[in-house]
């Protein structure tokens, strides 16, 4: 996935606290505006980033995010990569079920975030943590 070239240097942000989740939202918003996403698409990708950043913090024990504006020749978009070195996700299928949660949330984080973006890839394992890559393209 994620064919296309990066426009400019990706922005990196550590996710260690609550305030960092807010910073991730602002970072993604700026990138979404730069990629000329519509207002609704901006809102969707920022919301998805907020959910995933919280997952990284709560379940992954913190990590980092990389936000980039990308271009696949036809359209511009925003690519966000969340990475943590936490315990990984044991049962992916279960984790994507609406309403399923191991924490205290609503269990909409992963499944909801996937519905809000155009491309979604996840790589997880007990030995390597979790890495979620999402892309939202401008229409």
């Amino acid at each position: 996935m994620t064919a296309g070239i990066d426009l400019g240097q990706p922005q990196v942000q550590a996710i260690r606290s609550d305030e960092d989740v807010v910073r991730v939202r602002q970072l993604v918003r700026t990138a979404a505006v730069a990629a000329k996403l519509s207002l609704v698409d901006q809102t969707k990708v920022v919301t998805a980033a907020s959910e995933l950043a919280r997952n990284t913090l709560v379940y992954g024990g913190g990590g980092s995010v990389e936000v980039a504006t990308v271009d696949n020749g036809l359209r511009r978009g925003v690519r966000i990569v969340f990475a943590d070195s936490g315990p990984g996700i044991a049962d992916l299928e279960l984790a994507f079920t609406d309403g399923y949660t191991t924490g205290s949330g609503l269990g909409l984080g992963l499944s909801g975030a996937r519905r809000l973006v155009d491309e979604f890839a996840i790589d997880t394992g007990a030995d390597r943590g979790t890495r979620v890559t999402v892309v939202k393209w401008a229409r």
Partner: protein, 141 residues
């Protein structure tokens, strides 16, 4: 940490969220509001989210919890001013905000609370509530 101010207007508490809240700020607001409802004996809470450019599942849950808590404390909660882009995103996210009353703006939110109070007090058969009672929405899919 920032704190969201709570204003008292008549017997209604008005919360206008103007900042991009961290999760801690949201939880703090939840606590503060419960205390203020009891302290002021208010029967209505209006949460104005006009300025919020996103509502994620955490904030959504906070809104639901506030509504439930205030219900227990005999106060009606109305969430007002949700932006179209936010509403569309919430639908896609799968968040239905069950049990939360919503209105387009603060003014209509106040009408809704007044109508709900009138219902509670058994004055719902009055002539003046036409156009008010039906404005309410339960915001469930």
């Amino acid at each position: 940490m920032e704190r969201v101010p709570i204003l008292k207007i008549g017997d209604i508490l008005l919360v206008s969220i103007q900042v991009d809240m961290s999760d801690q700020t949201a939880l703090q607001l939840q606590e503060d509001l419960a205390e203020r409802i009891v302290a002021t004996g208010s029967h209505g809470v209006i949460i104005d989210i006009t300025a919020l450019d996103i509502v994620d599942s955490f904030v959504g849950r906070m809104l639901s919890t506030i509504a439930s808590i205030s219900k227990v404390l005999d106060a009606e909660t109305v969430v007002v001013g949700m932006r179209p882009a936010v509403a569309i995103t919430l639908v896609e996210l799968g968040l239905s905000l069950n049990g939360i009353r919503t209105a387009l703006n603060v003014e209509r939110g106040m009408e809704l609370i007044a109508a709900a109070r009138a219902d509670d007090l058994g004055h719902s058969d009055g002539v003046d509530d036409a156009g008010d009672t039906d404005v309410e929405t339960t915001a469930s899919p």
